[in-house]
């Protein structure tokens, strides 16, 4: 470990951090534009051409709004909640391989913050911390809707985390590694895992929707019942954090789906183009982002099409459908793998 290594990593961390913030910001804009498109509306169009500056205006507004901490709330936890939610959602992006290895001035710089050998487990660890942000925030508000939303959110998220964890086991059985970098490397060309593990992908995607609290799993904040759910009492940047964390989560889970099942920065005929290494890497990164945007669009598409589940239906789906399906998938994968090997 040398000093240059630290510099490299710091630059990559900061750049990726800023990019993910930017994308999360513009996801809010995209969400509104996509919603408008689907609902025959115009959407934001006042701030700048096509309302392109809208996210900046929204972000700026969050800074200049009054912070309200209800007198009945637990002050410390009330602040900790959104902070934790935002923090955990930002931490998950560490292990995502954004691209191959760049070669600048004779030094190899992989476009990944950290290729942990337990990448997949790291993600689950951090994601499960996200529950605390919501639970603490909802509880600290000392508000009935907030508490109910928080309880709903936590039981939903932990239930679907189980399905998520199980769905990836079959993928890990095929890949034989937990490192995201290696998983992506294995999907060279058109060797995408979605073709080998369609069921795992399906379960993972459904659980990702639930983890991000997106429709049809947006019970924790469902407006019609719980006013605002766990963030009923929040205002100013703390509300912004909750909103923002949702979009960062959406971005990160799209990145995960793209890298685990859709080959990440790999794309077919990557080698036959005859481009230099750096250009290929950057092209790969571009393709990766396109895949991510496709997933984000899918998230939004679903949100503006489907109604949401009821609490018991959601839990039943999680425990009685997703869980057994994931187990079944493990057995199938195991059987097929053994059959191939022998």
């Amino acid at each position: 470990m040398d000093f240059l290594y630290l510099i490299d990593k710091s630059v990559i961390v900061v750049v990726i951090f800023l990019i993910s913030l930017l994308i999360a910001m513009y996801s809010t804009y995209a969400e509104r534009k996509v919603a408008a498109f689907m609902q025959d509306r115009v959407g934001p169009n006042r701030a700048g051409p096509f309302g392109i500056l809208q996210p900046l205006a929204d972000g700026g507004k969050f800074f200049f709004k009054e912070e309200i901490i209800p007198s009945a709330a637990n002050k410390f936890l009330f602040i900790l909640g959104p902070g934790l939610a935002m923090f955990t959602s930002l931490m998950t992006s560490v292990v995502i391989p954004w691209g191959g290895t760049l070669n600048i001035a004779g030094r190899d710089i992989p476009l990944q913050v950290a290729d942990l050998n337990i990448g997949v487990l790291y993600v689950f660890g951090v994601v499960s911390l996200g529950v605390y942000g919501i639970m603490i925030g909802g509880w600290a508000s000392n508000n009935k809707y907030g508490l109910l939303g928080a309880i709903r959110a936590s039981s939903q998220m932990i239930s679907y985390e189980l399905g998520m964890g199980l769905s990836l086991i079959s993928l890990v059985m095929v890949s034989g590694t937990l490192s995201l970098g290696e998983i992506v490397e294995q999907q060279q060309g058109f060797n995408w895992y979605v073709f080998k593990q369609p069921l795992a992908f399906f379960i993972f995607m459904v659980c990702a929707f639930a983890e991000c609290n997106r429709t049809p799993f947006d019970l924790p904040e469902c407006e019609a019942e719980l006013v605002g759910g766990y963030h009923t009492e929040y205002s100013s940047m703390k509300l912004g954090f909750y909103m923002f964390a949702e979009y960062v989560n959406m971005f990160v889970s799209s990145a995960f789906m793209a890298s685990l099942f859709f080959g990440g920065y790999q794309f077919p005929f990557i080698d036959s183009l005859g481009l230099s290494q750096n250009v290929t890497v950057l092209l790969g990164t571009l393709i990766f982002f396109l895949k991510i945007f496709a997933f984000i669009f899918f998230f939004m598409w679903v949100r503006w099409t489907l109604p949401r589940f009821r609490y018991d239906q959601l839990m039943r789906l999680g425990w009685q459908v997703m869980l057994p399906l994931a187990l079944l998938n493990i057995f199938l994968t195991g059987g097929v793998l053994l059959w191939i090997d022998n």
Binding site: M1, Y5, L6, K9, V13, F17, F63, E67, I68, P70, A72, A73, I79, M86, L90, M91, V94, V113, A114, L116, N117, V120, L121, S141, N142, N143, K144, L147, S154, S155, I158, S159, E161, L162, L166, I169, V172, G176, S179, V227, T232, S236, M237, K238, F241, Y311, D312, M315, R316, W319, Q320, L323, P324, L327, I330, G334, G335, L337, L338, N342
Partner: protein
């Protein structure tokens, strides 16, 4: 695969950046935002009427049960991971032993189902 803990240094950097961003933003908002408080404004929202007591009432045991079930199953899921990573090396024997483990897992699952732990209505 990396063997040293060097791989975690960037995670630390990310931790500092993310933590700094969160704390910094909250702090700046605190400075920038106006501060005009009143007793009514700081009241808990309760659909426009006076708040009725403490919101921290005991809630249904069913949520708690969900949490317990999660802990139970999640611990078992963790056991799957090392096995799944080395699945090909273990071969048939590994598959059979895991089959036994999963059957126990499923047995517990069926028991809970029978006990109606999955009835949320």
């Amino acid at each position: 695969m990396e063997t040293s803990n060097d791989g975690y240094i960037p995670v630390l950097i990310q931790l500092i950046v993310a933590g700094g961003f969160v704390a910094g933003t909250l702090w700046i908002t605190h400075i920038l935002g106006p501060n005009r408080k009143s007793a009514k404004k700081l009241e808990t929202f309760e659909c426009g009427i006076e708040p009725q007591g403490n919101a921290r009432l005991p809630f249904s045991i069913k949520y708690f049960l969900t949490a317990i079930l999660f802990v139970l199953f999640d611990v078992e899921v963790i056991f799957f991971y090392p096995w799944a990573t080395n699945f090909r090396e273990f071969g048939t024997q590994g598959f059979v032993s895991m089959g036994i483990f999963v059957s126990l897992f499923l047995l517990g699952f069926l028991y809970l189902r029978k006990k109606q732990a999955f009835k949320w209505e």
